[in-house]
Symmetry: none
DNA sequence: AATGAATGAGCCTTCATTCAT
DNA sequence: GATGAATGAAGGCTCATTCAT
């Protein structure tokens, strides 16, 4: 009975994803995974060979085609500022709102921090497409003569800002006494987008700066919504204009 | 003999730091730690009660006063741009060049990613002083009326950019085919400092942007050294001026 | 379809014989047997009840009528010395040249060394006929008044010499540095036959002995071929003469 | 406490020897071994690393110096016939009367039949000394011009006769209905010694043979005691005479 | 009739821990 | 105080076996 077979297999993957994400590869036990999946302890060996085989399968499953994380669906014709914001928001929501399997993002971070043999699959299925998308967007936001190295650095700065907020939670809580709970995906996306665009000279700087690079007639409400900003072609014109 | 006692204890802490940093809490074994420390296998329980007690002690030891990581020694009277760059460079070099016990930074990252009860001590000894320093610097770079939440967001953007490069390595290697090896501490510090200052309107934007927020007479060599930039009070004036 | 049924059953027996002979009962796994037989993993239980049932069936199959090891086909009218040599040669070649299923002899040895419930069947099908044949031959070589116990002892001495060379291999290699590779079936049969006949006073002693029991006009080439010896009725007369 | 340590270790070796000898390496479980030795299940790992380490240690222990099987103590000046009988009797009694650890002989046979990495140690400690002793004895019983290959064949015939009686038991019982119980070590030694000496022309042939190689005035009681035979220098003169 | 899915007992091993010096 | 011996719990994994088609 292939239906039941696949169902059991799926339950194992789900349970394993959760446990691996929670405790890490080493601390996770196949006994607990099987218990959660209501499967026999020998099922892991039967379906995946061994614990490591299960782990690799879980990482693959997390980003499998049919259930994979969608790439930000940006109209290619949208202005690059909008597309950048879409990208940032999607990355953030992947890790905050945890759409799909709630353990996916946690598992991903673990795998990247301590890569195993499953890392290559993860990079191919998840990281590379997003990296290429981001570089395409940056291609429109940066001058054409920008070196590849510089484009990488900018990309790292963007992704770094996004991913930091995943690890930030527990520590930041200790520092800021709950302040960070105000930061939902939308607000973080606003900030990172504006911070980045300002760094690229595509939006007004953060804060109210003085001196040569600043402006005096800045709107105070800028940080409340990058969407409206980005929707305004006059203030952040695309290179295509 | 208390001297020998303390010496053994210290060797245990050193060995444990290395092993915990390399393999994580779970995968680290007391046997290996004691073997490396040339101590008896019962020594851990004798000196620290149990494995977890050793771990907590290691985290504390890593940031103990006498050997703790130095805060960036910035002259309080230096311009905030310089102080920011000093801060960024120090954070980067902590994780890249791994001064002091070579395992300290790795252990720190691990602990923050998966906080245990030792996390609080880590935050108190390491994170909080740096957070306060950064906020002090930002206090001079941002307009005084900036909300505390916004200041936090900026701080997160800065630290996020810095810490990302620790986890970036293995994955980025897969993507960029060795490109990232070009990025040493100095170059990364240059980039992050300039990116941040530009976002805050304290430096020229990245790339050669056009339009309203850009400039046309930009020096092409800017990215090659933020020091010279920061050393120029005219171009990045402190608020104190 | 009974033809396919029997065919699968036969393939299982063949595969099981090989694996059991190679690895022993315990170390043999049903999985490997079924894999080799290209049968389902449940086939063993289906056809033979359980692992032990399969083993017993294999032992029986190994000596089944249609494929059983042939008894030495000695003319009953041939001289007993010749018949003895035929017997010895056949026993040796059974274990050395491994005619028939190549695993049969190995499995037999295993079963005799550690008898299971399959041993009785093996004795009935294989051992007893040969034992009776040997005793019949010895009946002609030994004086009629020889006690049954003595006849058994002689039989044991003959079979012991033959079977020893199966187990001898690995150990003897260590001792004699490849010397034993010189000993093919023919040479061993020559030696054992002559050794035995000499012990029974039916051939000249081994070596060139001196004194009362020896002879002085011995042919030096005796050991090169017992066949010629046995083919000479004058020198090894049967009791019938 | 080293006394207790060694005592536990010894108990483990004894228990393991018994279980390995009874069931073979694979079927033996360290659980049973530890249970019999009244030791914890982790003791095997502690003392010997793993199951295989225990096995190798057991084989070594079985033939360790202080407890090793004694070589037959033959006066070098005794006639070689006597020394041969001493050798045969000692080999037989090793396997029948099982002096020392009652499992030693069984374990040895197992190891030789299916050699593991412990086999080399066994050969060095046990087999080689006996092989050399036997060849030394044969050197006196065989003419000096006998080839080395022939000497090996004779040695194999002797050892084959002896060892066969270990495996013979279960099977022979089935054939001879308890007859073989009459054969104690002494009687078997008598037979094998005489059979061999007769084959070498150093004693009268077995049975009451007729014809060219036999004698007519043979004593009927010969087989009842080889000792008296061997003690009679006239009938089985040594080469030294 | 014949199969693939699924099971649970039990294997060896490792580990942190404790005990008795 | 400080150590090596010894422990028991638990881990991953394998296996013969059974069940539901």
């Amino acid at each position: 009975m292939t239906a039941k077979h696949d169902e059991t297999r799926r339950r194992l993957l789900e349970a394993a994803g959760e446990v691996f994400a929670d405790k890490g590869y080493r601390a996770a036990t196949i006994r607990e995974i099987c218990r959660r999946a209501k499967a026999n302890i020998a099922a892991v060996n039967y379906y995946f060979g061994d614990k490591q085989g299960l782990y690799v399968a879980v990482v693959g499953y997390a980003h499998g085609k049919e259930e994979g994380l969608p790439l930000p669906e940006c109209d290619s014709i949208a202005p690059p500022e909008d597309r950048l914001r879409g990208f940032i928001e999607q990355v953030l929501s992947t890790h905050f709102e945890e759409k799909g399997p709630p353990w996916r993002a946690r598992l991903m971070i673990r795998e990247m921090a301590e890569p195993t043999e499953a890392c290559a699959a993860l990079v191919d299925a998840y990281v590379r497409p997003r990296a290429e998308l981001l570089h395409e967007i940056l291609g429109e936001l940066l001058p054409p003569e920008t070196s590849e190295a510089d484009r990488h650095l900018v990309a790292f700065s963007i992704v770094g800002q996004c991913l930091f907020h995943r690890a930030r939670n527990p520590v930041a809580e200790m520092l800021s006494n709950g302040l960070s709970r105000q930061f939902d995906v939308k607000r973080l996306a606003d900030h990172i987008t504006r911070f980045t665009l300002a760094a690229l000279g595509r939006a007004e700087p953060i804060g109210r700066s003085v001196g040569r690079f600043g402006e005096s007639d800045r709107r105070a409400t800028f940080s409340s919504g990058a969407v409206s900003l980005l929707g305004n072609p006059r203030r952040a014109p695309t290179r295509r204009e």
